[in-house]
Amino acid sequence: MVTVGVLALQGDVLEHLQLLEELGVRAKAVKRPRDLAGVEGLVIPGGESTTIGGLLIASGLVEPIRELAEKGVPILGTCAGAILLASRVKDRVVGETSQPLLGLMDIAVVRNAFGRQRESFIAELEVERVGRLKVAFIRAPAIAEAWGRSRITGYVDHPELGRVGAAAEQGNMIAVTFHPEITGERRLHQYFVERIKR
C-alpha cells in the first residue's frame, strides 16, 4: 500500500488524512523529520503559510523536504502549501513579505489575491489532466506567474478579477491555490496518488 505523508504542523491536516484514507492509501501525519521515513508522496495542507513556514524551520523539516523533492517524491501543496512551494511571494495589501518558504517551484504567488474572508468562495474550474473540480477558495492566493520548469495548468474565472492562475505543475510537484479537501472533491488527490504509483 502507498504511504502518503501530510505535513501536520498546522492547518486542515485532518481533512487531507481522511480524504487520502478514503482513497485507500496509508495516510501519515508528518511533524518531525523522522516521520518522513517511508513516505512516498507528501501533501502540504492549507493553513497559515507564515505559521507553517516558521514551524518548518523550528521542526527541522526544510532540508528533509527539499531532499525529498530532489529525489522526485511527488509533493502536492494546497493554498498555504502552494505559497510554501513558491519561490516568490507577495501580499495584495501588505506587499513584499519576508516569510520563510520552501521555494521549490518556479512560480510567483500573490497572497490574499481575492480579498478577505468575506470574499472567499466556492467555484468550479478545469485543471489539465485532472478534470473539472468543485473546490473552495479561502482567502486564497493566486499564481501570478510561472517560469522555467513550471507551468500553470488551471485557471478560475472570477467575476471581478477575470481569469486567475489557480494550479501549476513542475515535474513531481503540484501547487493549487484552492481546497479540494473542503468540498469533498476527490479527483485531484486521486490524480496525485496515481502519480505516486507510477
Binding site: D12, E48, T51, H179, T183
Partner: protein, 332 residues
C-alpha cells in the same frame, strides 16, 4: 463519518432552517460562477486555523509581534481581558480605526469581538472586513436572553461554550467555530480544562449511545439539554464537535497550551497571557511551538525554556472572584 461530511450536513441544515432552497435555485439560474459566504466557505475557513494559536492584541505593534511569532490570527480588542476585568464599566467592541490599521499591517486573518446580542457591532465588524467575529462574554452583553442570528452574516462567528449543549445551541444559531469559555483574563487555565472535559464527556456519552444504536437516549439527551436532535445525532456520529473547537480562557504558558491540545482542542486562543507577560515575543513563539508539538514532551520542555515563569502574568484565583465578576456565565 468524515469531518467534511459534517460540514456538508451543517450547510444543508442552514437551508432547511431558512428555506433557502429557492434562493439557491434562483442563483443557479442566474449562472453566478462563484458562491460566497455559504456555510461551507465559513466552516472551511475556520478549519484552516486548526493546530494554531490566535492571539489577543490591542494595537498594530502587538499584531505584528503576533504574526512574526507564528500566530494563525489575531483577535482585536480595546482592552485585554485582564484589563477589562480591572477597569470595570461597560466593555464594547474595539476602535474601528485600530481594526482598520491592523487589517493593513498584517497578512494573517483578523478577528474582533462584539457584545453578545449586539447585531450592529457585528455588522460594523463585517463591514470593516474582519475575517472572524467573536460574540464574546468578555464584553458586556446587551441581550441577556438571546444571541445574534449568525446565519444572517457573511462573516464566520466564533462563540464561547462551557459545555456541549451550549456549544450545540451556538452552532444552531450559525456559529462556525466554538471555543471554551474558561474564565477570561485570569491567567488560570482551570476553568478552560473544566469546560473542555465537560464537552468531551458529553461527546463520549453521545458516541456511546450511537454505537449501541440507542437513538432514544440521544433523543432524551437533546430534549433534556435543550439542543436540536439533529445536531446531537451529528455529534454522536462524528465523535467530535461538528465545527472546529478551540480552547480559551486563562492560557498563559506553553504547558497550558499543550494541556489543552492534549484534551482535544483543535487550537488555542491566548488572551491576556502573552501581552500581560513581561516576555511577549518569546512567549508567543513558545506557545505556537508547544501547540503544534504538544504530543512531544521534549519540544514542550524546549518551549517552556523559552519563557521565564517570573515573567508570566500573575493570574487570579477564580475562588477569589465574586459571582457577579464571572464572565463565563454570560449567555448560556
Amino acid at each position: 463519518m468524515k469531518l467534511v461530511d459534517g460540514y456538508a450536513y451543517v450547510e444543508r441544515l442552514k437551508e432547511l432552517i431558512y428555506e433557502l432552497l429557492e434562493e439557491r435555485d434562483r442563483r443557479r439560474e442566474e449562472g453566478l460562477g462563484i458562491r460566497q459566504a455559504t456555510p461551507l466557505v465559513k466552516l472551511g475557513f475556520v478549519s484552516m486555523f486548526k493546530g494554531g494559536v490566535i492571539m489577543d492584541v490591542t494595537n498594530e505593534k502587538q499584531a505584528e509581534i503576533a504574526e512574526d511569532a507564528g500566530a494563525v490570527g489575531v483577535m482585536i480588542l480595546d482592552k485585554l481581558p485582564y484589563d477589562v476585568r480591572m477597569a470595570g464599566g461597560v466593555a464594547r467592541t474595539a476602535d474601528a480605526n485600530v481594526i482598520a490599521a491592523i487589517a493593513n499591517a498584517v497578512t494573517i486573518p483578523i478577528s474582533a469581538k462584539c457584545r453578545i446580542g449586539h447585531r450592529e457591532e457585528a455588522r460594523l465588524l463585517e463591514e470593516l472586513g474582519v475575517d472572524l467575529i467573536d460574540e464574546s462574554e468578555v464584553l458586556t452583553p446587551v441581550d441577556e436572553r438571546s444571541h445574534i442570528n449568525k446565519w444572517d452574516f457573511k462573516t464566520p462567528f466564533v462563540n464561547g461554550a462551557r459545555n456541549l449543549p451550549e456549544a450545540l445551541r451556538r452552532i444552531y444559531e450559525g456559529a462556525a467555530m466554538i471555543r471554551t469559555k474558561g474564565e477570561p483574563g485570569t491567567g488560570n487555565v482551570a476553568e478552560a480544562v473544566k469546560h473542555m472535559k465537560l464537552v468531551n464527556r458529553d461527546i463520549a456519552t453521545l458516541r456511546g449511545y450511537y454505537l449501541a444504536g440507542d437513538y432514544e437516549a440521544i433523543w432524551v439527551y437533546a430534549k433534556e439539554n435543550k439542543v436540536p436532535y439533529e445536531l446531537a445525532l451529528l455529534t454522536a456520529r462524528l465523535g467530535r464537535l461538528p465545527v472546529v473547537n478551540f480552547a480559551a480562557g486563562g492560557i498563559a504558558t506553553p504547558a497550558d497550551a499543550a494541556l489543552m491540545m492534549w484534551l482535544g482542542s483543535d487550537g488555542i486562543f491566548v488572551g491576556s497571557g502573552i501581552f500581560k507577560s513581561q516576555d511577549p515575543e518569546g512567549r508567543a513563539r513558545a506557545i505556537v511551538l508547544a501547540t503544534t508539538h504538544y504530543d512531544d514532551p521534549e519540544t514542550v520542555a524546549e518551549a517552556q525554556k523559552m519563557i521565564s515563569e517570573k515573567a508570566s502574568m500573575m493570574g487570579i484565583d477564580i475562588r477569589t472572584l465574586k459571582p457577579e465578576q464571572l464572565m463565563q456565565v454570560r449567555g448560556e
